[in-house]
Assembly symmetry: D2
Homo-oligomer: 344 residues x 4
């Protein structure tokens, strides 16, 4: 019998990406989709490209109690997820939260970087950071998974082998990331007005972007040491995709071949990580759950450069969430996720 | 046992789109992929986004004779397909040709509009025009299917109900179409140089585009009368997608409701045609096999306006070809084609 | 002594385009720029690309009375311009209104197509339609000029020679236009959210777009006869530019050479109209005041096709307004407008 | 009497950008434009947007000897410029070379990084690096100016104050740059095929890009010390614009206010450098000669971050060349260069 799934929050990009995957997933059924602002409408009224595919009527979230679901995806804004997680903390279903409400180590760091009070502090005790390549075992047992941010997935996977093996100087890491606009959400605002983005490019969130601390905390935990990371996001005139260019100084000798070999072995059994032989392009993973890497060492400058690409709505959000769901249900982690990238 | 399939011509967009569908198709296996210029390389060397997904080695086409395949897709340029079709005219497999070599009624009209000699004139006798919504029965029996052009699929489906029911003036039809650049192929040329397309827009092929005659011949056959069609293509700064705005004068009285009802009933059982309530956008069908329609009547001007959108590489090429394959093999025509559009 | 100019409404694209031209115009000075919502800020706070170029402090509009200006550009929304025009109807300066408030023939047609009450009906008596290629003499004497819409400039100039010379069937004209997003204004909304526009394309405003009636009324006046025009606008994923593809049936015999010769002679002395030998692209006029044309006759179908391109913010708005200003002040109409198109 | 100018090499983007500026420059006239492949055609045949503006007939370069010009711009490929510079080394006119042939310190470093023999080694003795903000005095006396590369202009101006004042660690500088496609030239190739760029993003030239050594040599000269610079270029899906994000470690204490003050005073009298209060966007300088900067210090990480934007065809090529020309002729360096950025 298929598992029964709820999507809480249907109107954003994360909601529609979840639906795209779940309607084709062989082991689950979508039992409930909620939207406070659009309840009563059909899912395809909000996302017309789902016409004839998913015509489910949107419900208010209070239908959740009676829906007998096995797992709920929270596709809600930061600050809203925590109230749901609290309300259903004793419920009989698992939760995968796609917001930032439970990604950090402590409520204190949340309140510092999100500038918002956290109202469900106990949540941090049971929340597992949902990066399958790092915390697969814990995810399998989790009741509440904090699905990683898009930039963090890109940056953490790029640097993880180096940090785990303690191969780089901890104070000299630069993470220069570039993202498509869907990371900024479905809501129209000046920053994503077409003429402000098209044929344009800019940095934003310098020094203060919330993903800085998420990347740092996860990598510190992975490396068991303090790190100083400079993270700078930029806005690309594209819909989907994140490319991260990471720079690090080796702490000792390393050769190009050792570097490549490290990445190969580290990710040998990770089905959605691909190591490529030349710098990857974001379109090579668009619409897919792959994260492609290229790592190289520059002898002239003594720098390591790692480039990673992923689709911010997919490996950076919805499909990574489904990968987590697969693990939580004991399915093969690849189930329903084998889509070929859409290029061109 | 799965059907064995060959893709002849692997390097273009049509080749990679065919592969995207066929690797996930439950009833077939890709037995052979050929490329004259790249034989010996792997498919993923040419299309890096297929890394870890399709690593098949490319063969020269002379491997076709021994491959014991059931069906070959010809993803070849105009003028090259005809030599293959001739060479394998007695072979034991079916052929779906994605070029324009057998789409027209006669070799004479081919030679006039393509400005090229046709070397396999008998091919026209057995070739079936592969528009499943129109010729589904003939396709089921066909040995050689001429897969429709991208613009013609868009224009013919838009006008077909009106022509079939003889509801419009035959001399006053305007087909104003706009296409993404992938229709121009994978090969770099001035017309598709980024800076010539980006933030730009232009018409091309006025009065002489080959799809003019393809549209006209198919609709004349469908309506059993002569037609005069003005077809103007334009180049959009997007990758995929065709939007056709068609204008026609009703030959008698028609109301908005009659018009909508006509389209509804005409396409009632066509799984990949969707009638929508407001003008559709090309991104609503991107990466999917859907063709979305909007038809309306303007009382003020006494014009009918029909707008259709499709993905030129999918319903306009590769996936329509697979839809034809399904019909030729007696599968449900939807098999392997249920992908949700990629939006955003 | 330079003429003193006011720009009423500084925050939109029209306001910044006016400023771009006027800061380099040799015969005028910008004496006043107003903004109700941003008064007290500098112009470059709103438009950062003007930093070090135009640092003028924004004023509220009530400063207009004391500013002793010679001419005011109203870069205001529809419905707001009319209140200004009324308030300053006896003022000592000329007005060029860039909104739609005085473009139509009568208050009645305004109220029908704009669905809004018109509160300054006498304005229609003195307002002159500011298309210099058609009404240059009247503009020279005008106190209130209604600057044409962007689509109408494109469509009217394309069809004007045919209508003037009475060469086409009046009931069979199709105007299929495609515009960049800046025509929709500076304000963020769903329709211009990046991911809704990028790699996308759609029609909008079918049958009901206000520019339909503007085009029709001006061409009826020019041709002294009734016309039925079908106008369909589409939204291009570009910033600037309109391309209009117009189709018409000749009412009698016409040859390709006669057609081209008609356009050549009709626009012989118009400095901003260029006749080109192949279909023009919108980038060929970007950032400039040119309108490029290509007219051709299709013998096979007996249709005339005319394609025009212009920059909707320039010839379609701000620079056409300055062209009108030049005429109203008795300057050469080209003064300050000789910018080379920005391509690529 | 206006100075007489030649543009050698008319068909590329640099050639057309030079023409855009020079046709409006009050102190010069274009006396000769050459093209080996298109001689006999008009300039507007190659660049249709110049129709009615610049209809000059293209000449072969051997017309140069008799043309009595005062200065020649070489808009030629690397490797071709050097043969011209040699041929006209005793000629009576000045030369500004826009290729990379004379930008480096020595023929040896040229041959190493460009992988090409240099056939006019003496040229290095008299060539002056044409960055007016750094070498204004030498440019005023120069006979041969090597116009800087686009990336180097962006990177050097961003780091110059820090290097000059010896404020950063010399071995820990990261220059992460992102450029539009026009930097790759006018010729169609796979790398700039629309579908390979649109909605895409990638790094290229890792470790080996020629601009690495150009940046390093100029900054080493400016700082009078050795430097290790990591330069990584990326390809943006836009036409024009470079954004550089540079990271450096302070060698001692520095505060945010000291940093900003340093940049303000360093560039106080440079008319085309603008310091802005928030991260600049490439569109804020598009089509203009401005280079906008934002410098900030991150206390948490002890890193300096400097972001610069410029238009690669303008400040990064053609207009910087005209700025050099102005200085060489003793004009005000701003003459003819006051164009307002084109945004949107």
């Amino acid at each position: 019998m298929p598992k029964k799934i709820a999507i809480i929050g249907a109107t954003g990009y994360t909601g529609s990406e979840l639906a795209r995957i779940l309607v084709c997933h062989p082991e689950v059924e979508i039992a409930l989709i909620t939207s406070q602002s659009h309840s009563g409408k059909r899912f395809s009224d909000i996302h017309p490209f789902f016409r004839d595919i998913l015509e489910t009527e949107l419900q208010t979230a209070d239908k959740l109690a009676e829906a007998k679901i096995d797992l709920a995806f929270l596709a809600l804004p930061h600050g809203v997820s925590m109230t749901f997680a609290e309300k259903f903390k004793n419920a009989n279903f698992k939760i995968i939260d796609l917001s930032g409400d439970f990604r950090l180590n402590t409520p204190e760091s949340y309140e510092e970087w999100y500038q918002k009070e956290h109202t469900f502090k106990e949540g941090f005790e049971k929340a597992i950071y949902g990066l399958p390549e790092l915390f697969g075992d814990e995810i399998a047992e989790a009741e509440l998974v904090a699905n990683p941010g898009c930039y963090p997935t890109s940056a953490i996977l790029a640097l993880l082998p180096l940090i785990r093996e303690n191969l780089i100087e901890p104070s000299c890491v630069i993470i220069d990331s570039k993202s498509g606009t869907t990371g900024a959400g479905v809501k129209a605002k000046a920053a994503t007005h077409f003429s402000n983005v098209n044929d344009n490019f800019k940095a934003y969130g310098l020094k203060k972007h919330r993903h800085s601390i998420e990347i740092q905390q996860v990598l510190e935990k992975a490396g068991n040491r303090d790190l100083t990371l400079q993270f700078t996001p930029h806005l690309l005139p594209i819909d989907r995709g994140i490319l991260t260019t990471a720079y690090a100084k080796p702490s000792g000798f390393i050769s190009e071949e050792q570097l490549k070999s490290l990445y190969r072995s580290f990710y040998a059994d990770k089905p959605f990580v691909r190591l490529v032989n030349s710098p990857p392009a974001v379109k090579d993973v668009r619409g897919s759950n792959y994260c492609d890497f290229f790592a190289t060492y520059d002898e002239r400058t003594n720098n390591i450069i790692v480039i990673s690409v992923l689709d911010n709505l997919v490996k950076g959000a919805a499909r990574q969430a489904v990968q987590n769901m697969n693990i939580m249900f004991g399915f093969d982690e690849r189930t329903g996720l084998h889509m070929v990238p859409v290029n061109p």
